[in-house]
């Protein structure tokens, strides 16, 4: 989108302030109420938040972990933005993510024996994208052909996908050498290359590139505009002669494919194997993050960083201060509540202003 060259009138300044407030106020409120709960538990909230920031952002090791965590979050966010902007609510992220992860974990150790590392990594990623995209075909076709609500179907396919991924690990790709059911491991040296001698793998670069490309695709290409028309007004899409059915399937495939890439990159960069019953459940975690960013691919980078700091720092801070690990999830929950509240108040404000 071309940049607005209009001067900053008071009205526009107010809108900008409101845009920042819509994001900042819920975050601050969530932190404040979270702090109050810590006080009730007899802990010092400032110590807790201090540990979070120190560990998640300010310590070198923690920062590297944060960057590593950002990679899957960003790729999933990219996948969700494509779908949500097209008005398609793909909530099947977890199933798509895990299936892709298992496929990568099964392929990589098998291929690395015969193929060079680069080729192995690329084949794994491409295959995972294809598998995740294929898994999205059923909800996509049901939506395109019969108009069946994809929220329900994709969510159900997600449960099936996570279970199926487990079945694959336990029955077909199980490494006989281990007692706990898991796939064969990809050796650390064969995984995604690290960046400049740090522990951060290059998946974060892939993720950043993908999320920026997705943003450009949505705002600067005919394909992106078509998707947004389908999302904003499906009747107008039919009226304009867009192939709504085809676009629906393409959107689903692209969305699921990017989420699959997230699973693949996480295995190739961090774990090297999939253990049975492993499910980080990032798929649904990223949904509020994408809403916070209002489906903007650039803004989502900041939120992914914020979430990663909270997750990495929160784990360590909870341990050090002696509160349950799930305290971070509670902060996320509070954030959602206040987000919805602020959104509602903003809606009222706009209505009053007659905007």
């Amino acid at each position: 989108m071309s940049v607005d060259a209009l001067p900053l009138t008071p009205d526009r300044t107010r809108e900008h302030i409101a845009a920042v407030a819509r994001v900042a106020v819920p975050i601050l409120l969530a932190l404040a109420v979270g702090g109050a709960i810590l006080l009730i538990l007899g802990k010092n909230p400032f110590t807790y938040y201090g540990y979070v920031v120190q560990r998640g952002l300010l310590s070198w090791g923690g920062l590297q972990e944060t960057m590593t965590r950002m990679a899957p979050l960003l790729l999933i966010a990219a996948g969700l933005i494509v779908a949500f902007r097209a008005g398609i609510w793909n909530l099947g992220g977890d199933g798509q993510y895990l299936l892709a992860a298992v496929v990568t974990a099964a392929l990589a150790p098998a291929l690395i024996d015969t193929l060079p590392r680069g080729l192995t990594l690329i084949i794994c990623m491409v295959t995972s994208i294809a598998v995740a995209a294929a898994w999205s075909l059923i909800p996509a076709l049901l939506k395109a052909r019969y108009g069946i609500n994809e929220i329900i179907t994709s969510l159900m396919m997600s449960f099936l996908g996570t279970s199926f991924a487990n079945v694959l690990v336990k029955l077909f790709f199980r490494d006989p050498a281990t007692t706990v059911p898991q796939t064969r491991s990809l050796e650390v040296v064969d995984r995604l290359p690290r960046i400049f001698g740090t522990n951060v793998h290059s998946g974060i670069l892939i993720a950043l590139a993908v999320v920026i490309l997705v943003h450009l695709m949505m705002t600067r290409t005919a394909f992106g505009l078509r998707l947004q028309i389908v999302g904003a007004n499906p009747a107008a899409a039919v009226h304009a002669g867009l192939k709504v059915g085809w676009l629906t399937v393409a959107t689903f495939a692209l969305s699921a494919g990017l989420i699959g890439l997230a699973g693949s990159v996480e295995i190739l960069g961090v774990w090297g194997t999939v253990r049975a019953d492993w499910n980080p459940a990032y798929g649904l975690l990223v949904v509020p993050l994408v809403f916070l960013a209002r489906f903007n691919g650039i803004a989502v980078i900041g939120f992914a960083l914020f979430f990663s700091v909270l997750m990495i720092g929160g784990e360590s801070a909870s341990r050090r201060i002696g509160v349950p690990q799930d305290f971070v999830l509670m902060l996320v929950g509070l954030l959602l509540v206040f987000l919805a509240l602020v959104e509602y108040l903003d809606h009222l404000r706009r209505k009053r202003a007659g905007v």
């Binding site: 005919a222 028309i229 039919v238 905007v355």
Partner: protein, 560 residues
């Protein structure tokens, strides 16, 4: 002579609107009771507009108070304030002489003010009685027997017969409106507001509504009727107030009203609506009155050559809530305007969509300049020159949240020169938009303004600019002036006639017979999905069209 107020197709071409003697009105005009509701010095501003500017009006029991005015005159805002949907910036609302605050639709209902909006706001999948019970508080049990008692009470009051267990979705629009009226009166029958209630109704529905309104008036309800139609105002109104640019510019009081003939009333109203600008707006006045016969200069269409568009035995598949086509055949020659008349919901929508390519024909063929285009989709037909100006301007014609610039190119996405190899050239798109905005006199703050923020007339200008651009050969207009004010209506008519003069084949689908009589060369009539006849436009064709519209010639077997 609006089609939806046709009294009976058997009456002569010189039509009276709703059958009632003018003397029957004005029952509340005798003594001078205190008004049920009063608005005093109401002001309401929106960014850039003063919607209501110091409005003061009285609403009396047993009186039908008509509010007349063009689009943007402030009628809807005033109604919104009375219905509790908007709050005035200043001014007072008095109910039974007591100052009240109407902070929400519920408070408004609590004061006995019920509103029936232009579009039906019922849940189609629930029954009549379920819809009526929806207004209760959440902690209350659904008391069906009490609700049924109230339902019967109101049925008697309105003089209507409805099955309380019928699904609302299966009722006709007229019956749905009766349910809406019941809901509006559910918590007390003090004041009833009707916002353009006849615009979606059949002639029978209009008659029934007139009866209902008269019954309510006799029971002492204060009725407020918002309308564009002068004939309705005359037939039903005891008191007429005219709004213009947010002000009350004049009124006809009940005492005066009783002494006046229809001609006198219309003359007075037009003088108020157009004020000093009367002479220049003579054409608007003619349009308002439906007396534009003088401008019906027919062109001679040369039908010796090959038709531009030929539809042969088009049929479409039935679909819930829409009337499909049955064996529709017609020819359209270059330079011709073919009007399509008919009561709403007789297959017009399917006809337009099938011709535009956004709906598949189940059988039949469409030929354009001798080529079969039945299988072509919207983009291919657009390239071949077929254009469709839809009546659902915001529903499907545009994407409300997208800019004017994007909407101007909604049907060209991906095409050169605005897109090159799929990449968007926003600079070029915005330049193109500025040019169109200038050329078509589209009133918008900027080409980047979301189109949903423009007025109906300006959205229509965007659609016209988009559809009439580059090598149009056949243009289908569906209700081209629906919801537009007089000036924009006239502009749209001029555009239609003008483009036909340049050799376009034009199809105008409308439920407004006057409009068709003004712009068409021939007029076809749709009845229950069939094109039951096509007549040459000329003097005295209204009677024939009226008969066709109600299916009376079907028995004679003239279905084409």
């Amino acid at each position: 002579m609006k089609m939806d107020s046709l009294p009976s197709p058997l009456q002569s071409g010189e039509m009276t609107r709703i059958e009632t003697t003018p003397n029957a009105v004005g029952s509340g005009a005798g003594s001078k009771p205190a008004p049920v509701a009063t608005v005093r010095n109401i002001c309401k501003r929106f960014p850039g507009v003063v919607a209501n500017d110091d409005i003061s009006l009285d609403f009396n029991a047993g009186e039908i108070h008509v509010l007349l005015g063009e689009n943007g005159a402030g009628k809807s805002t005033l109604i919104g304030i009375l219905a509790g949907m908007q709050q005035p910036d200043s001014g007072d609302i008095l109910i039974d002489g007591v100052r009240v605050r109407l902070g929400s639709p519920r408070e408004s209902l609590d004061h006995g003010i019920g509103t029936v909006f232009q579009h039906v706001l019922l849940v189609p999948s629930l029954t009549v009685i379920e819809n009526l019970m929806l207004g209760g508080s959440w902690w209350q049990k659904l008391a069906r027997s009490a609700a049924l008692a109230r339902f019967r009470e109101l049925s008697d009051l309105l003089g209507v017969k409805l099955d309380p267990d019928a699904l609302v979705g299966k009722l006709s629009l007229g019956e749905q409106q009766q349910v809406e009226i019941m809901r509006a009166l559910w918590r007390g029958e003090k004041i009833l507001i009707l916002d353009e209630p006849t615009s979606m109704l059949t002639p029978q529905g209009v008659r029934d509504l007139g009866d209902v309104m008269r019954r309510l008036r006799a029971k002492g309800v204060a009725l407020i009727l918002i309308t564009h139609k002068l004939a309705e105002a005359y037939e039903l109104g005891d008191r007429i107030s005219v709004l213009r640019l947010g002000r009350v510019v004049g009124a006809i009081l009940p005492d005066e009203r009783q002494q006046m003939t229809e001609q006198q009333v219309t003359d007075r109203v037009i003088a108020m609506m157009f004020g000093a600008t009367m002479p220049t707006d003579a054409a608007d006045a003619e349009l308002l009155l439906g007396r534009a016969e003088g401008r019906r200069a027919r062109r001679l269409v040369d039908r010796s050559g090959a038709p531009r568009l030929r539809a042969t035995q088009l049929s479409t598949a039935a679909e819930r809530g829409a009337c499909p086509l049955h064996d529709v055949s017609f020819d359209l020659w270059p330079g011709e305007v073919l009007g399509i008349a008919g009561i709403d919901g007789n297959g017009q929508k399917h006809l337009a969509e099938t011709l535009a390519g956004q709906r598949k024909a189940a059988s039949g063929t469409i030929m354009l300049d001798g080529h079969d285009i039945t299988a072509a989709g919207v983009p291919a037909r657009r390239r071949a020159g077929i254009r469709y100006v839809t009546d659902e301007r915001l529903g499907e014609g545009t994407v409300g949240t997208f800019s004017v610039a994007t909407n101007l190119l909604l049907k060209e996405i991906g095409n050169e020169p605005f897109w090159r190899r799929g990449m968007t050239d926003w600079t070029r798109i915005h330049d193109h938009a500025r040019e169109k905005i200038e050329h078509h006199d589209i009133r918008t703050p900027s080409e980047k303004t979301p189109i949903g923020k423009l007025s109906g007339g300006n959205i229509q200008k965007v659609l016209l600019a988009r559809e009439l651009a580059n090598d149009a050969g056949v243009v289908i207009f569906n209700k081209p002036t629906y919801g537009l004010d007089l000036q924009n209506t006239r502009l749209a008519h001029e555009r239609i006639v003008e483009s036909a003069r340049h050799g376009l084949g034009t199809i105008v689908i409308s439920t407004d017979l006057d409009e068709l009589l003004e712009v068409s060369d021939r007029i076809g009539v749709m009845y229950q999905g069939r094109l039951v006849g096509i007549v040459e436009n000329g003097p005295e064709v209204e009677l024939e069209i009226g008969k066709l519209m109600t299916g009376q010639t079907l028995a004679a077997g003239t279905g084409s």
